[in-house]
């Protein structure tokens, strides 16, 4: 339940073995690759050069994808690392050429059909606007003395035509929201001026294609016939192609997957460094896989693999691989949503798993609804293979447990009474509306507990990272922990009429921690560097320091209060859930007969969907804002083994 220990791996060998080595790295499924040489002067001095070759597989992948698209072959992300008969680039090129020649004629013919349909379709669109013209296009364009232009004129410009005194006519055939479609004509003598006028009015010419000769009506019929014929031919070709795709689909998919694998493996070369016909590869592997990984290369003679501790090279940060048990595993997605922890940090997944499950159960406590959520979770896990299924299962179970405590079963608050009597409890343990104060105080108490644990986690992380400001003097460090718990204890004392706030208590447990928090920066510098300095940079005077820290202190104290009270929402949702179900029950009682179960089912479904979602989001908010903000930074580098995540960049 922590972070997997990593080892740094250095691989070197002769260039002839590079492809084989990269393939093995991919096949291992546990190799996180890093650039083998940093882009700094040192690397250049050593003579190391990063490989920057053009990937010869990329154009082939694109061609293959285009072919698959044209044939209707659906490809997926599966990886096929080997296929007999496909060893070199030439093998793939040959296969693609054969495939192209087999379907090329059909695809080309279909393209021609599409092109003609598109041209004819555009002409049909234009002709539809010209239906008011009862004359042959040929006759119109062959007029000897008249100058004619067909096109569209903006509606506003049409209104301005009456401003002109020149002799021309604009005959509209059709009108839409923005344009008048029609033609203007004038004498050949005035054509230059009239063309200029229409240009200034934003008249857009419509060029009638050469194949259109007769009247718009006749031409429209002819064109529609032709488009229908072409569409039928396209359908035939598609049928032919789908038949081929059906016969050879599996084979094409396999070759495509292999090609993509090779393409992506070749892409890994950009992280490889070379010198004197030798290559260098660097990366991380989980410590538990180091022996197996080394063995994978034992048969490649020129390649040597060195496994060393991860902190040997300062410029490389080890990636983080979370180690989670069966209970916390589904919650890893939530943690990763915030960001993975740094390599030497704390894996908060178990803490999140426990608090999330607990809070969900309390806020959404209903035995029946919890059972439905549990079933939905099982269905998602085993049928849909969805990673959130596990989370639902656990939350559903927790909801059932608290539903039993609250005595709620699909909103029926007394349906479980016989069960309590049978087990000798007499009545349900908590009657929600009778114990609202208890519920709200308990919610705040849970919040205090969670905040205290978060502070302890922060202290542990701080010491691990040798960050004394964080661990000792910070608002979430030892000083903050003492201050917060002392204030809580004092408040508890006041509520229970046991005054514990003596002068010593206040000075030792409240004032001194506050001073520590106020002076956290100079104190931590003093501990770490044995010198007195107000800030890390050594800038700013005492006045600046006091003003800055005064406001920060104000914010810290305010955040203690607001973060604690924020947990009131946990209790609020307990009441809210009971209230919503009460409404459902009241509406149900307003109906009779068969309508009652319908209202109960619809009401339950509505509450489950709406409240379930709100509760889930609210808990995420509590986790991220109230808990994570205290100890978790989430700026680690996720462990991404090559091969396991291979995807084409061209998709």
């Amino acid at each position: 339940m922590g972070i997997e220990k990593m080892m740094l791996v250095n691989i070197d060998g002769t260039m002839s073995e590079l492809d084989k080595t990269l393939l093995r790295c991919c096949e291992s499924g546990c190799f996180h690759m890093e650039p083998a040489a940093a882009k700094n002067a040192d690397s250049h001095r050593n003579g190391l050069k990063m490989l920057s070759e053009k990937n010869p597989y990329t154009p082939l992948v694109r061609d293959m994808e285009e072919l698959c698209k044209r044939m209707g072959v659906v490809t997926d992300d599966t990886i096929n690392p080997s296929e007999p008969g496909f060893e070199t680039l030439e093998d793939f090129e040959r296969y693609l050429d054969n495939l192209k020649s087999e379907i090329g004629t059909l695809v080309e013919e279909r393209q021609e059909c599409y092109k003609e349909i598109s041209q004819k379709g555009a002409a049909v669109k234009q002709l539809k606007h010209m239906m008011g013209m009862n004359a042959d296009f040929e006759q119109v364009f062959n007029c000897e003395h008249a100058h004619i232009r067909l096109g569209k004129l903006p509606v506003d410009s049409y209104d301005k035509l009456r401003y002109y005194e020149e002799t021309f006519f604009f005959v509209p055939f059709d009108k839409d929201k923005q344009f008048y479609w029609g033609m203007y004509f004038c004498t050949q003598k005035e054509k230059v001026i009239v063309d200029e006028i229409f240009n200034s009015l934003y008249f857009e010419r419509v060029v009638i294609p050469e194949f259109v000769h007769g009247t718009p009506q006749d031409e429209l019929e002819d064109l529609s016939d032709r488009i229908n014929k072409l569409s039928l031919r396209v359908e035939d070709i598609n049928y032919e192609l789908s038949r081929i795709a059906e016969d050879r689909g599996d084979e094409i998919r396999k070759i495509y997957s292999l090609l993509r694998f090779r393409n992506n493996t070749f892409d890994l070369r950009k992280n490889v460094a070379t010198i004197n016909n030798k290559f260098y590869i660097k990366g991380f592997i989980p410590k538990s896989h180091s022996d197996g990984f080394k063995k994978m290369f034992s048969d490649v003679r020129s390649v040597s693999v060195a496994v060393i501790p991860p902190d040997v090279e300062n410029d490389l940060t080890p990636p983080t691989k979370l180690k989670n048990g069966w209970f916390s595993r589904p919650y890893a997605a939530l943690v990763e949503m915030y960001g993975v922890p740094v390599y030497n940090g704390i894996n908060p997944t178990l803490f999140v798993a426990i608090t999330y499950t607990l809070l969900f159960g309390i806020m959404f406590g209903d035995l029946g609804q919890g059972f439905v959520i549990l079933l939905a979770g099982l269905f998602m896990t085993y049928k849909l293979k969805n990673k959130f299924g596990g989370l639902l299962t656990r939350c559903g179970f927790s909801s059932m447990v608290f539903g039993f405590i609250f005595g709620s079963f699909f909103g029926f608050e007394h349906a479980l009474d016989p069960v309590y009597e049978a087990i000798g409890m007499g009545e349900k343990p908590i009657e929600i509306f009778d114990k609202t104060t208890f519920i709200l105080i308990s919610a705040v108490a849970i919040g205090v507990g969670i905040i205290l644990i978060s502070m302890i986690l922060n202290i542990i992380t701080g010491f691990k990272q040798k960050n004394y400001e964080k661990a000792i003097f910070g608002c979430n460090g030892i000083a903050g922990l003492i201050f917060y718990s002392s204030v809580i204890a004092a408040v508890l004392g006041m509520l229970t009429d046991r005054s514990i706030t003596t002068a010593g208590y206040v000075i030792l447990l409240i004032v001194i921690p506050l001073v520590c928090i106020f002076c956290r920066v100079p104190f931590s510098i003093a501990v770490k560097y044995k010198r007195w300095q107000l800030s890390e940079e050594g800038e700013g005077g005492i006045g600046n320091f006091i003003v800055e820290n005064f406001f920060e202190m104000f914010e810290f104290v305010l955040s203690y209060v607001s973060n604690t009270l924020s947990f009131l929402r946990v209790g609020g949702f307990v009441l809210c859930h009971a209230g919503m179900m009460l409404v459902v029950m009241t509406i149900m009682e307003m109906f009779t007969g068969m309508a009652q179960p319908v209202v109960a089912v619809v009401g339950n479904l509505f509450v489950m969907a709406m409240e379930g979602m709100i509760v889930a989001i609210q808990i995420i908010r509590l986790e991220f804002y109230e808990v994570f903000s205290r100890f978790y930074e989430g700026d680690g580098k996720p462990f991404e083994p090559v091969g396991a995540t291979l995807k084409t960049d061209n998709n």
């Binding site: 506003d156 410009s157 301005k160 401003y163 005194e165 006028i197 200034s200 857009e204």
Partner: protein
């Protein structure tokens, strides 16, 4: 009820304001290489998607694109005016008055330059149904006297008589001063008559500030480029000021343009930034207007918000025109960005 309805109009205006082009949008637009790309971007932007929905971005003329944007602003103001049944309030009709004045000036310009066709092509057709002036008839005028006689029975009788009385001494700048003075006098009187005292104070103060800046720029230009004396400068100014007559008089009496700049920096807080980039005075002027409009937009006075929004939309339209012009003349992105007021 009226207050609630004014609140609804303010909310409506602020909602549209939220959709206006942002600095980031201007930056993206300035980096476009063709008018087609600009049209495409505007067509996909929530602010103009409705207006430009039917256009073909590949064939659209830049002039038509600009016209559509200006038209959409004009129609939006008419809609806002009618939303609160204010068709009969003179203040809310000042948009039409403004466009009429602009077109009359454009007509006078075309009479001076004898380019009637350019007036017609530039005439916004959307004004035809929103004006009592018959611009078809007016456009046929060949002289100022003819124009004056045709406008004899309209509200423009008085300023046009003033122009006609100039005879051969009439020039475009004088005509502009006379017509714009008339427009602002009408606007000020509508502000005084139609609006409550507090609204009127707010808006007239904003208008006076705006005119101060305009007068300062005019005076500076006349001094810098024509070496004009104080009398000549005074005659070409619009007679409204917030800064105060005495201060403006002192400005006109400055002997050099540098002296003017120094004087403005010392006396006017609002116009202090005007000469920060002397090559981009128009942009700086628009920026000052923007600042004042944004202040008004934050108030709870509906007429003030309406007036401010008018200014903001004008600047936005002008920015788009600058970008399109810049792209047309293949200016680098940085140069275009310098022309944008935000």
């Amino acid at each position: 009820m009226e207050r609630a309805s004014a609140g609804a109009t303010i909310t409506k205006i602020r909602a549209i304001h939220g959709r206006m082009l942002t600095q980031e949008d201007y930056r993206i637009l300035a980096s476009k290489k063709t008018v087609t790309q600009v049209a495409q971007y505007l067509m996909e932007h929530k602010r103009f998607s409705d207006v430009l929905s039917g256009i073909n971005v590949n064939t659209i003329h830049r002039g038509y694109l600009e016209e559509l944007i200006v038209k959409s602003n004009f129609e939006m103001f008419l809609k806002l005016r009618d939303f609160q049944h204010l068709r009969h309030a003179e203040f809310y009709n000042s948009v039409c008055l403004k466009y009429e004045t602009q077109q009359l000036l454009s007509l006078i310009d075309s009479i001076f330059s004898k380019t009637r066709a350019s007036f017609i092509s530039g005439f916004p057709a959307f004004l035809i149904n929103n004006t009592k002036l018959d611009f078809v008839e007016l456009s046929k005028c060949a002289s100022l006297q003819e124009l004056c006689s045709k406008l004899g029975c309209t509200q423009y009788k008085k300023p046009m008589e003033q122009i006609a009385s100039l005879g051969d001494n009439a020039d475009y700048l004088t005509c502009e001063v006379i017509l714009r003075t008339y427009y602002y006098k009408k606007l000020m009187s509508s502000v005084k008559n139609d609006l409550s005292k507090s609204d009127a104070t707010l808006i007239s103060s904003a208008i006076r500030s705006e005119l101060d800046v305009r007068n300062i720029v005019n005076a500076y230009r006349m001094k810098k480029y024509f070496g004009a004396g104080s009398e000549e400068i005074r005659s070409k100014q619009l007679p409204f000021t917030k800064l105060g007559k005495a201060k403006m008089e002192k400005l006109y009496e400055c002997t050099t343009d540098t002296e003017m700049v120094e004087y403005v920096r010392k006396t006017s807080k609002a116009a202090a930034t005007l000469f920060d980039r002397s090559d981009f005075i128009e942009t700086e002027m628009a920026k000052i207007n923007l600042r004042s409009a944004r202040k008004l937009l934050r108030t709870q006075s509906m007429p003030a918000v309406f007036y401010a929004f008018l200014q903001l939309c004008d600047v936005e339209a002008a920015n788009i025109v600058h970008i399109i012009e810049g792209i047309r003349y293949e200016l680098p992105r940085e140069k275009i960005e310098e022309l944008i007021a935000y």
